[in-house]
Amino acid sequence: MATTVKDVKKGAKNLTTDKDLTAPAVKPLTLPKDNPVIYPLTLPESEARRQTPAVGQRASRPDGRLHGLGQTKYIDDLTFPHMIFAKVLRSEHAHARIISIDTSEAEAMPGVLATLTGKEIPVNSFGPTLQDQPVLADSVVRHRGDGVAAVAAVTEQIAADALEKIKVEYEVLPAVFDSLEALKDEIKVHPPHSNIYTSKVIKKGDVEKALAASDHVFHRQFRTQMVEHVPLEPHSSVALWDGNGRVTIYTSLGRITLGREDVARTLGMAQSKIRLVGTIVGGNFGGKNEITNEPILALLSKKTGRPVKCTFTRGDEFISSTIRHPFIMDYTSGVNKEGKILARKIRLVLDGGAYCSWTGTTIGKGSILAPGPYNIDNLLVEAYAVYTNKTTTGAMRGFGAPQVCFAYESQMDDIAEKLGMDPLEIRLRNAFSEGSSSPTSQVLQSVAVRESLIQASERFGWKEWTQ
């Protein structure tokens, strides 16, 4: 007769008692009550663990407790046995040809274990859209933050001292700093290519005809400045090259899968041999969306057989990480007597800095959003991104949206003032509604611009404020 599960259970019941199934009481570990260095041993379960479904609940962050205890481990908090430290020497010029780089004196310093120049990097270019950026510049520096050589040493101090011993000979080239100047292509940042490296045009209706038919035409140029993300945590990474020819990189990067593609490209290695480990990022805001010195650390680790760490100084952070694109925006709007916008013509010039980075996304989003959330039948948006010999511009919160918002909302105020209208009224009169068509003719759904404007203005007392 076959034994059934039921039989087994029956037998088991006879063999064990309930007492056997109960875990023995654990005597709590006793520690001096006022020991200030030990973390609490037992605490009520974190709120975040019990929050589901989340809607309607007061939410707490799952990582909030560790943040408060100072236990969250950011990249710079990690150490590895025999870890050494890298520093990157940056260009002295905005635009120059590199004639020679001599690292011999730095290499001879006690405590210096290796140096690296761009020529030693298997594929010395990367970038999320165009691969136009060198990991370390090897022939030309295109802005003041371009790295030209790296040093790995047993302490950060020795690495910093060694940078001063590296001799770089430059032939200074004329540089271009203004994006409108750069449009003329008189000084090229990436010759023989034009400085205009990406552009976008959006057309709808007949803008010239509608402008001619307008009662009022408004024109103004708006400019925005460079903005650095300034994450409180500087970029940081640690690379460990192992004996199997694989490399593990702990990095403050926010996009580790894209980062791995770039690292694989620059090292000329299969992605399967590269492991990128991300952790909690101490502020990203778009500035940690692409690799910086990860390939440099990987190669220095390969050369030395030691884990290599590099944490940006605040100075590195400002000059060599990406920043927000400055925009020069020419807005021309045609409006009728009632305040209806009939036409809007826009030219955007994006200062791309020395390399492309996330400009593709920025120019796309900036152009599409440039006319604002308003029903305008006749549109022309022309956008150009240009190279200049300045800090590379890339992703930053909103990808171009805040710049154009500043321009179109400023122009809405200009229009309201000229027509003697309430600034809220001019917006309500033109705002998108359910089924409106976007500048690229996308039919919009779940549109609540008017409702939001009305509610917000009621809540903060717009009427009282303007009286």
Binding site: P40, G64, T311
Partner: protein
């Protein structure tokens, strides 16, 4: 050079190069990575610790200068039984986003509450003037400090 400190009630020492800052000694020689390196020039406050009852940018103080003194870091805020009231209110009110400014903020806040258990909002702002938060969370941080102050006062009363 040998530097001896009292950190969170415990006597600690390390042999450090003379240029070592207090922050570097705590992080790299004593393994206390709670205080952070943000700017290295005393602007951002992520490295704040308490030295003899004064909140200090530990990136600007040489380890040797802290020799023999009493240091409190974020690791010393909780005890084996419970979180510090500030840690509780920061967690409950969601006062920290990326968390990188947190240890410095909490230490500055603790130093304030130790001296002034029920501070006004301007007093809190003043105490946090050396601590930057880039995720723009100051409102909740101020609320959390007031909340903790009230909790500590009512527990003490």
């Amino acid at each position: 050079m040998l530097v001896q400190l009292k950190v969170n009630g415990e006597l600690r020492s390390a042999d450090v190069p003379p240029e070592t800052t207090l922050l570097k000694m705590l992080r790299e020689h004593l393994g206390l990575t709670g205080a952070k390196l943000g700017c290295d020039v005393g602007d951002c406050g992520t490295c704040t610790v308490i030295v003899d009852g004064q909140s200090v940018n530990s990136c600007l103080m040489l380890a040797a200068k802290a020799s023999g003194r009493d240091i409190t870091t974020i690791e010393g805020l909780a005890n084996s039984a419970d979180l510090h009231p500030l840690q509780k209110s920061f967690e409950e009110l969601g006062a920290l986003q990326c968390g990188f400014c947190g240890p410095g903020m909490l230490i500055s806040a603790k130093n304030l509450l130790d001296k002034n258990p029920e501070p006004t909002v301007p007093e809190i702002r003043d105490a946090l003037s050396g601590n930057l938060c880039r995720c723009t969370g100051y409102t909740k941080i101020i609320e959390a400090i007031q909340d903790a102050g009230r909790a500590m006062s009512s527990a003490g009363a």
